[in-house]
């Protein structure tokens, strides 16, 4: 349940405020030194109560934050064997859902567990320095923040993920069943359309372009006609901006209103389009770019 994307961002910021400050605060500018180091601790005995190892786990892409990046290396060496390559748990529990990690600031709570171990649950004490533990904490907080921000589709969402369709089939749909050529031309208005938008925006624009594409013809009882861009239309009131840029408003019961919606065909298509047709069409529209101009 969510009302706005800003508020979701807020929760990420507020809930994890201590986590985020921990991440952004420090980051000394030095190269990770310990990438080639072997694991600093022997593999501990399997925890009894953790979930079974999960198939899809893999090491996530490295964080940009240096402290977290060092932490990832350290984590991979010391913790991943039990807690999973990505921190979501294997023989040991999921650390990203851990209350200890949620309350931790710069390793102050994680440190106790690492130094003392959890002998009752099969976790040994690990000989890590406070600096190493702080790095691991930064990494885990970075991973949690990543999860919190996973409720947005990033604008840089990669085109490869969207390009699962067949461009040839998409072209056939564009020129045939889709009826797209009634209004559009691949070499006219849509030439280089792919270069104008990010990959994810291109898909949304293709399906239902953003903006006001409605015009209205308003005829008064005395027969006067005003035409223009439709600004407002409800049960009671209509307003347009005419070709000269002047605003006009009328009570609906005073006039006849004829609305033209240039997006009507897009709206109708949204009710008919199959997933395959959408992906094929996208694969085709994505090819509509002038060489070298694609972002």
């Amino acid at each position: 349940m969510k009302e706005t994307s800003t508020s979701k961002l807020l929760v990420a910021l507020l809930v994890g405020i201590s986590l985020l400050t921990a991440i952004v605060a420090t980051a000394a500018a030095r190269r990770p030194q310990d990438q080639q180091k072997p694991a600093t601790a022997a593999a501990p005995a399997a925890a009894q109560n953790g979930p079974a190892p999960l198939k899809k786990q893999r090491r996530p892409a490295p964080p940009e934050n240096e402290e977290a990046a060092r932490g990832q290396t350290q984590y991979t060496a010391s913790c991943a064997f039990c807690h999973g390559a990505d921190g979501t748990g294997a023989r040991g529990p999921d650390l990203l859902r851990s209350p200890v990690v949620a309350h931790d600031v710069k390793g102050n709570m994680i440190g106790d567990v690492v130094h003392n171990g959890r002998p009752d649950k099969g976790m040994p004490a690990l000989p890590l320095t406070d600096a190493q533990i702080a790095d691991i904490a930064a990494y885990l907080h970075w991973r949690i923040a990543e999860g919190l921000s996973s409720s947005e589709v990033p604008n840089g969402y990669p085109a490869e993920k969207l390009l699962t369709g067949n461009a040839q089939a998409g072209k056939a749909f564009f020129e045939g069943e889709g009826g797209c050529t009634k209004c559009h031309s691949a070499t006219g208005d849509l030439a280089n359309v792919s270069g104008k938008y990010s990959a994810i925006d291109l898909e949304a624009q293709m399906l239902y372009p953003e903006g006001n594409f409605k015009t209205a013809k308003i005829t008064t009882k005395s027969g006067e006609v005003v035409e223009g861009k439709l600004n407002h239309l409800d049960e009671f009131t209509v307003s347009v901006t005419d070709a000269n840029g002047w605003f006009h408003a009328f009570a609906r019961n005073e006039v006849k209103v004829e609305v033209t919606d240039k997006l009507a065909a897009h709206r109708a298509l949204l009710d008919k389009l199959t997933q395959t047709q959408m992906h094929d069409l996208y694969a085709y529209v994505h090819t509509l770019e002038t060489e070298g101009q694609h972002q």
Binding site: E3, V15, P51, L96, P99, G147, S150, K161
Partner: protein
Amino acid sequence: MSVLRDQSMNRSHSFANVLRAASVLLLLLAMRAPSLAAQGLDPSALLQKQATDTWPTYNGDYSGKRYSPLDQINAGNVNQLTLAWIYRTRGQAIKASSLEVNGILYFTVPDNVYAIDARFGLPIWHFERKVTGDHIGHRGVAMLKDKLYFETSDAHLLCLNAKDGKLLWDVQLADAKLGYFATMAPLVIGNHIIAGVSGDSTDIRGILTSVDPDTGAVQWHWYTEPDPGQPGSETWPDTDALLHGGGMTWMTGTYDPELNLLYWGTGNPNPVLVGDRRLGDNLYTCSIVALNPDTGKLQWAFQPSPHDLHDWDAVQTPILFDADYKGKKRKLLAQASRNGFYFLLDRTTGEHLATSEFIDQTWANGVDKKGRPIAKPEATPTADGALVEPGSDGATNWMAPSFDPQTGLFYVMARRIISVFYRTVEGQVEGWGGRDRNLYMDSTLRALDYKTGKVVWNHELGEGEDTAGILTTAGHLLFVADHLNNLLALDPATGSTLWHLNVGDHVVAGPTTYQLAGRQYLLVPVGDTMYAFSLPEKTEAKK
């Protein structure tokens, strides 16, 4: 207008019984003057068989109908409706339903509680406590005797003195560091304050808590996910998934005093858009549950969205009414759910009676033998996007529905939202793991036949996501707002417009009503401002 009802009538059980026996007409003729004595809320006022001329709970009464027996403002004179007063908070948009008790309104925005005079719009007190946590919106307070109960963005429950807004006590409902927060108005049942929590950005377990009204001491917890090994736990693949399965208790429930059953809608499972780690139905997320309010024990459950993958929680008000079903008078429960389906249940047993689409949807194909929609595999969020209607914001959402016993119609704010759902995270997902992108949105008010859920009439409300709630009254009126800033009074039998006003902003809460000193008020929050409407004073002067 000779019958003077003041709060002493509320104070006496025998008087309450007399009131129950009295005709609705008597109630409607009642003229309530603000009391000069104690101003608290007597518990018996919550047990009225139907809503009266006050608004003592989030939904006005336990049934969740949002139907008022007041009819001074009616279809014949609504075109004379005029402003009585305006109160500006100069704060966040008001999404709350204000209580009205003994001439005082109590309403909220996150971090803030306001008490203002209900006749004149004068400020009485303002409580503010700034905390961290999600400030998405706030639905209001609960009241018992001289105490108010307020949930906070850091998932605490505060008790305030209703007289002056002073803090009496503060208890934590859940750990905000784990991602919990709270927005809802608690529900008072007997000596229980029942409080839900919110938060689905992290994978946490839904909780409903009952506390002691005087001390805040916990009486019981009910968890959306059953304990490991308990019935329902078999709908989760493992204990880790179960204990992090989401299912927040976002919205105020309803209550049947005769059955002593509490009805609550639960939120979506977590991770939100990706179900790999939680294969199974995921009980009791996206469910309507019936609980014993004294023990928190589950009586029955019905699940509108098994194994939800689209953020379609089932927290929409489960409305209670007694009406004919196939020739027999039944105790019914109806919900128009966020997934686009209307459900009718027998609220004594949880027996499923009807399932019906109330708006366009593309995610389900047919209904299983339990009455639950069957999801199409192609509606599952994917890396390359799945085109689905409705979008995650839902065919409806938190905005209040209404049931009008005069028309026998169930009213819902319905939206056509067409979205592409992207799974953006590969591997082990935590939190959301993706999001949908809205392409097209418009809104319509729909009147449903309660027996079948079939659409009886439809009133288009414009493009965009309308979030206005609904109020119906014995004055043969339905109040709602369109998405173009018009407050509307409609004929609840036909949907035709009887009155409107451009109020200058979206209405993001439900209109409510009450009567004081012989005058009925329509209360409508618009943006950060509370507007009270009534008939012109001269109408009253005729008496």
